[in-house]
Subunit: 341 residues, 2 copies
């Protein structure tokens, strides 16, 4: 991690998904998204689809961050065009006490480990395999709110009205996530990424009280593999994120490279952060702006979007993005810079 390379590596968040015709074809034959998540050979198949189709530099296991609340005792549904819904949510101390946690929760998720085993074998060490989980704050959001929300004001109210219960719940999610990630590493994940999708809705003081400490616990507990922390919208806590025991900081598309570098320093490996909507533009613009981003971060960089790729993104532009990175060469860039001086 972080050694000198000729070009940066590249992969896309949500690369295994609707952007690929082979994914849509497979998905059409199934009862729903959960069948795909819970059937190991199918999850493995869609994990490998973008590796074959796009020639990206990493695979990320096809799964969902909501398997953890489900393993803890709250089942979820995925409703087409609406999003996730939890028939039961967390409302009281009793609800929290009733949750399974730690290894007992993680051990429920055999289908994930089986999918990793199959994928690992099929990848045959061609490229690294990434495992992931949701950050405890983001998982709490869904467990309290019961689904997506524009404001997550129920979850946010819970932090203000029941801070001790919130910490108790976050502790249980954290224990479960640690056990889960350790099992993922044991089943072949070469790196893990923690997604804090709802980081940006908390003010910085609350983020540093209710979110960061639990990510820190996870990072400190996982020493088997390198860790990436992607806290979307947490620009105001970037300095605190930089102190975590992790190898990579993921950046969303709102963070300019110079701001990120001013906080993180030149040696921190960053991941991101092209605007996912740029892939709707003309191919030439995709190429120009991808190169500009690589130059702006200036090495120590894993190229990705600043968010998961949107399902209606033209596949040709995804390929332009990946191929632009793969044909980039830092040394040519350096030469050009020197010539201009």
């Amino acid at each position: 991690m972080g050694e000198t390379v000729e070009r940066p590596p590249v992969w896309l968040m949500r690369q295994a998904g609707r952007i690929l015709p082979q994914y849509r074809a497979l998905r059409a034959k199934l009862s729903g998204f959960k069948e795909l998540v819970e059937t190991p050979h199918l999850a493995a198949e869609v994990t490998i689809q973008p590796v074959d189709e796009l020639d990206v530099d990493a695979a990320i296991i096809f799964s969902d961050i909501l398997v953890i609340p489900e393993a803890m005792g709250l089942t979820y549904e995925l409703i087409e065009k609406v999003g996730p819904r939890f028939p039961r949510t967390i409302q009281s101390a009793r609800d929290i006490d009733a949750l399974i946690d730690g290894s007992a929760a993680a051990e429920q998720l055999g289908y994930v480990y089986d999918a990793l085993d199959i994928t690992k074998k099929e990848l045959d060490n061609r490229i690294p395999l990434i495992g992931f989980c949701g950050a405890p704050w983001t998982i709490l959001c869904y467990m309290i709110e019961g689904g997506g929300s524009k404001t997550f004001s129920k979850a946010r109210r819970f932090l203000y009205q029941e801070p001790q219960l919130a910490h108790r719940l976050l502790e249980k999610i954290t224990n479960s996530s640690i056990a889960y990630l350790k099992l993922k590493a044991r089943h072949g994940a070469d790196l893990i990424q923690i997604f804090d999708s709802w980081a940006g809705i908390l003010p910085a003081d609350q983020y540093e009280l209710f979110a960061l400490p639990y990510i820190r616990k996870i990072c400190d507990a996982i020493d088997e593999v390198p860790k990436t922390v992607f806290a979307k919208g947490a620009w105001a806590s970037l300095g605190e994120l930089n102190k975590l025991n992790c190898q990579v900081i993921g950046l969303d598309w709102n963070i300019k490279a110079d701001y990120a570098r001013s906080i993180l320093g030149p040696e921190r490996v960053v991941q991101g952060n092209l605007d996912p909507c740029l892939l709707y533009a003309q191919a030439a613009e995709v190429e120009t702006k991808t190169k500009a981003m690589i130059r702006a971060f200036d090495s120590k960089h894993i190229v990705n979007l600043g968010h998961g790729v949107y399902p209606d993104t033209p596949l040709d532009n995804v390929k332009v993005f990946v191929n632009t990175v793969k044909s980039f060469n830092y040394s040519e860039f350096s030469v050009k810079v020197s010539e201009n001086e």
Copy 2:
């Protein structure tokens, strides 16, 4: 604007609304939200309700940012618990050409000016009356997307695929907004606020290309009254916002006071930015954190939340918030600081 005061002024975005029992009682008698917006004496009545109930330092005319797209030719509906919906949206150059703009659009909104006239008379100069509009980028979002969205990816795609059409549409929205705000000022608005609710979904380079230039045009065109620009999530463009010809910069709850002051300087009047969810906490915490915020911004500050107050906020806590500000005294604070030194 900006003179030395003993305490900062205070009002709340969305103070005229569901937090007040008298609003809910009136609203229950009506067919819907639009009836309230479009009936001048009712809009005036709910504008004044929070002035009487909360004793805030400013009134803001009860209306909606979507009256502008409607005046331009796209009617909207407000669907209970879902949000706004536009049966027709903008998809092509022809759609844009068909829109009414400028004064012709603004003159459709007689009910707003009538509501201002009535409110102004009933307020009898007790406190200033604020008028507002949506920023052109935010209005474009709704006109393209046809409703709310988590990602506004249709509107964002439009910027990348049809940049010239986007500019043409933004120009028309801008002309209409300028004419509208001039009429608002003529009908008694003492200050105007421009809400860029979806500023935060654009990367900074696009924000500075498609959003800021049109806010700048509005600010430069309106010299009748002072202007507040509230661009939610636009932290990365705060330095650019600071160059606008406006008197106040609104801040959302993600922006720490020290970051804001480091970019904006000590003399810029700012508005905001308490976390709206803090009003779910215990009264003592509301008081402590409100005072801490006032001290952190250290004068040149209009106290407000960092977003519109949420409809289920306990009214008692809204009062604690307002009364904490009203009983605050900068000089006592200075004395205490000196004593501690």
